[in-house]
């Protein structure tokens, strides 16, 4: 069964332009990259899959399960989709420690952290080598540490799908090279279907088994690469 099936139509309006997205693709591999130049609509696709764009129409299925199916009236809200997202710049909650960031998705409002949650967080802290940073605030972390926390936080909810939005774009070049390698190793160990969005062919080579190309809101042929960098 294909890991991820996506058919999406939506129009985004901003004061100076309107952007029309119409994509149809299937990601069969465990790790797929969606590559395209900036403004091509790749991050929009990712947000729509996560359930963050209420105007999205079409179908999104993960492992056969429908998250969005407009003709059948299915549109799960983001909180019910169990789709882990690593945002561009990571979007770690700045007022919470590393540990609290990891707990966020496990503990609902007014709930205490129970033993099962604590074990899950401990396991992630070990897996991502965060033991010494448990009590640290995101602003005191390096770029690489932030990336690990963001990935661990997204995995805490045991997602059925993992989405990475330009995971390396926040970093400068030498660091990017090192972290690309680190991220590749981490993703290798994570047994969750992953879709990552990038504009950089080197990311695709290091992180993904397969690629899908997007330009101007449409899926396009990958040869040549759209907006080749």
């Amino acid at each position: 069964m294909a890991a991820l099936e996506v058919q999406l139509q939506l129009t985004l309006h901003s004061p100076d332009r309107s952007f029309e997205l119409n994509v149809d693709f299937t990601a069969a591999s465990q790790r797929t990259a969606l590559i395209g130049p900036s403004g091509s609509g790749k991050s929009t696709v990712l947000q729509a899959i996560a359930g963050l764009l209420p105007q999205a129409r079409g179908r999104v299925r993960v492992g056969g399960q429908a998250l969005l199916d407009t003709p059948r009236g299915i549109d799960l809200p983001a909180r019910e989709r169990r789709v882990g997202v690593v945002f561009q710049d990571y979007a770690l909650f700045p007022h919470m420690t590393v540990e609290q960031n990891l707990q966020f998705g496990l503990r609902r409002l007014g709930q205490r952290v129970d033993a099962g949650h604590a074990r899950r967080v401990d396991a992630l802290i070990r897996q991502f080598d965060l033991a010494s940073l448990r009590g640290a605030l995101p602003r005191n972390l390096s770029g690489g540490q932030r990336q690990r926390v963001a990935l661990a936080r997204a995995l805490a909810i045991e997602p059925r799908l993992l989405l990475l939005d330009e995971p390396l774009s926040a970093l400068d070049s030498p660091l990017r090279k090192r972290l690309r390698h680190e991220l590749a190793e981490m993703l290798e160990r994570v047994q969750v279907p992953t879709l990552l969005v990038t504009h950089d062919p080197q990311d695709v080579e290091a992180l993904a088994q397969d690629m899908i190309c997007i330009d101007n809101g449409r899926i396009v042929d990958c040869d040549p690469l759209p907006g080749a960098v």
Partner: protein
């Protein structure tokens, strides 16, 4: 001393309750209007800012039309619950909360708009509903800006004069707040008392302004 303490106590009581009401309403409205545009948003915004630019006596007049004994709401409050707000300290609370509402609302809206929307989205993908997003993410991240607005509202409520006088009148020991007591002391030629009252209210307001300025500064 008594002439100083009674209006001071009443003023603090009125300002505190008024600030609580203005904070609850202003924070909720600030959050709602900061979320996303909707038709008529700028009209709602203008209406909420109106108490800041209207003469306080005009606000007082509106309030009499609304909650006076024969007012639009007041007649039902009187008939059904036997509640009359005119010439009471509770009426003064309502007057003060209306004039201080724009300060909370404006501060809260700006603070919520400054919070990066991606934090709320991250919370949603982690399973949080909208109330949880508000309580665990948006509110804590906006709290400094909100607190600064709330403190300004408290200072404004303490200094309220016009609308309070229209609604609650000038009953010493009952509805006579500091600012009204100053007015009366000056009218009566009681300069010493006016001076003391003025000093007290000035000191409290300076304290509030310094504190709210620090809160805002620490944010940047």
């Amino acid at each position: 001393m008594h002439a100083l303490f009674v209006p001071l106590w009443l003023t603090l009581k009125v300002a505190l309750f008024a600030t609580l009401i203005a904070a609850a309403i202003g924070i909720a409205l600030g959050w709602w209007l900061a979320r996303r545009p909707f038709p008529g948003r700028s009209v709602v915004d203008s209406l909420l800012m109106l108490p800041m630019v209207l003469p306080p006596t005009v606000i007082g007049y509106y309030l009499i039309v609304l909650i006076g004994r024969n007012g639009i709401l007041g007649q039902y409050l009187d008939r059904w619950f036997g509640i009359n707000l005119i010439f009471t300290w509770q009426g003064a609370v309502i007057a003060a909360s209306v004039v201080s509402l724009p300060l909370v609302y404006k501060g809260a809206r700006a603070a919520f708009e400054e919070v990066d929307g991606r934090f709320a989205n991250a919370a949603r993908t982690l399973g949080a509903g909208e109330l949880e997003v508000f309580l665990r993410v948006s509110l804590p991240l906006a709290i400094r800006g909100i607190a600064a607005g709330v403190m300004l509202a408290f200072a404004r409520a303490m200094g309220e004069f016009g609308a309070t006088l229209m609604i609650a009148g000038n009953l010493p020991g009952k509805t006579q707040t500091l600012s009204i007591a100053v007015y009366e002391a000056v009218q009566a030629g009681n300069d010493r008392q006016a001076l003391w009252l003025t000093l007290v209210i000035s000191l409290v307001c300076i304290g509030v302004l310094v504190a709210s300025g620090r809160l805002l500064q620490a944010r940047h």
